[in-house]
């Protein structure tokens, strides 16, 4: 049996300082879901293939189900909860509400956070580039067309702002 040596990490999650002793192999998702009771990042495939566990770490969209928490010591993590609230949603969340761009919503962490991190890097992205950036995020309900409209709406508003 593998002997576990716990490792002390400190990171910021949605602006809140978090320190934990973690199994070096434990995925970040477990820390977020089980320890911090966050509902945004979801366990989907557990293999980094679907995107439902996506969070933004230091400005980049990453798959928290295959990223060890220990590798993110000192990182700044943002989940859907950290963007906005139902009462005061972030503009990209508002765009998804305006376009009614979800059915079951299980994939939204992947779609919204991947799009946001991408547009933060490339505000003038074309539709094709947005499509490319979101190619690895799965929406099994098939809401893709509405989601692309929502991202476009957000990108346009962001450029005007």
């Amino acid at each position: 049996m593998r002997k576990i040596r716990l490792m002390r990490i400190a990171l910021t999650v949605n602006g809140r300082a978090v320190a934990r002793d973690v199994d070096p192999e434990m995925p970040l998702l477990y820390l977020l879901s089980d320890d911090l009771a966050l509902r945004g990042p979801k366990f989907g495939c557990g293999l980094g293939q679907c995107g439902s566990c996506t969070v933004i770490a230091n400005g980049r969209a990453i798959r928290s189900c295959i990223t060890p928490a220990a590798s993110l010591d000192g990182a700044e993590i943002v989940t859907l909860e950290g963007l906005g609230t139902p009462e005061a949603p972030h503009p990209i969340q508002q765009a998804f509400i305006d376009e009614q761009a979800a059915q079951c919503g299980f994939c939204l962490s992947g779609v919204i956070l991947t799009a946001k991190a991408f547009l933060d890097q490339k505000p003038d992205a074309t539709d094709d580039e947005i499509r490319e950036a979101l190619a690895g995020v799965l929406c099994r309900c098939g809401v893709n067309a509405r989601m692309l409209r929502a991202v476009r709406r957000y990108a346009d508003a962001r450029r005007r702002a």
């Binding site: 979801k42 509400i97 979800a102």
Partner: protein, 284 residues
């Protein structure tokens, strides 16, 4: 998956489930059988459909479905869950339509096992007809509307035929200043009525809420990570279980060495039933 005669393990699975091979073929209509496919096909063809149409005890009573507060707000209960099919919002539209109230005066409680009608599983296309058409929630709301009109008829001394329900009140058709709000008619009290199978559903020509495009009620919660999926449910002292999957279907368990995990903090128990192995722990 193999095509042809059912393999021995497929036949054993069918026998274990109490189904003959003929039953299986009749239900699936195809001679495509393997161990795993047999299990899946039987669940979909038989028990699931029955579970979806299930109606628990007490569901024939109006008070199981609809309550009206002193402020005239409508609280409705449903045993069919939102699973991404838009059913939560659609059921709110249904209640608003049949009871003639604006949708923002409707509160819907879904799938709270202590309070809502037992309607079995929600798993697919049957969740919609279960509460629409002339059944259950639709019938409850129509029964409630007709009961409110009867109550208003008694209070106002006007024949029910001359009254109309609109915007949370019952109104005298030819003397529209005379009206009485739902809260004043029944607020905080129970109806004590069975669902009326003959209650009149509002005709699609009369619809003002059903058939219109209403924003999905749960979307703000979904996009901000507040929506509670089943995966997010937490109860006090909850334990977590994980299944230890075999390398292939039909694998037979040889041995379990419990000492290999017993020292892990939070470990509770290893569960072994035949070739099934699960681990229970205090955290996931």
């Amino acid at each position: 998956m193999s095509v042809g005669r059912p393999s021995p393990d497929a036949r054993r699975a069918l026998d274990a489930a109490g189904l003959s091979r003929r039953d299986f073929l009749r239900q699936t209509g195809a001679l495509i059988v393997s161990f795993s496919a047999a299990g899946v096909a039987m669940r979909f063809a038989g028990s699931d459909a029955a579970a979806q149409g299930m109606n628990g005890p007490g569901n024939g009573q109006l008070d199981a479905w609809i309550a009206i507060g002193a402020d005239g707000r409508v609280t409705a209960c449903t045993g069919k869950c939102e699973l991404g099919q838009g059913l939560f919002t659609a059921q709110m539209q249904l209640v608003a339509e049949e009871l003639c109230v604006p949708i923002d005066r409707v509160t819907l409680i879904q799938c709270d096992t202590a309070r809502t009608p037992d309607q079995g599983t929600t798993s697919g296309a049957q969740s919609h007809p279960a509460n629409f058409n002339q059944a259950n929630l639709a019938l409850a709301a129509a029964t409630a509307r007709e009961a409110l009109v009867r109550l208003a008829s008694q209070k106002l001394g006007v024949p029910a035929a001359d009254l109309v329900a609109e915007n949370g009140s019952v109104v005298v058709r030819n003397d529209r200043g005379r009206r009485i709000g739902y809260g004043d008619l029944i607020g905080g009290r129970t109806f004590d009525l069975p669902l009326d199978p003959g209650a009149r559903r509002r005709h699609p020509r009369e619809w003002t809420v059903l058939g219109t495009s209403v924003p999905r009620v749960e979307l703000p919660d979904l996009v901000t990570g507040r929506f509670e999926f089943v995966h997010n449910v937490r109860v006090p002292d909850m334990l977590h279980g994980a299944v230890v999957r075999p390398p292939r279907v039909g694998a037979v368990l040889e041995a379990v060495d419990e000492t290999s995990v017993r020292d892990i903090p939070g470990f509770v128990r290893v569960v072994v039933r035949g070739s099934f192995v699960g681990v229970v722990a205090e955290s996931a």
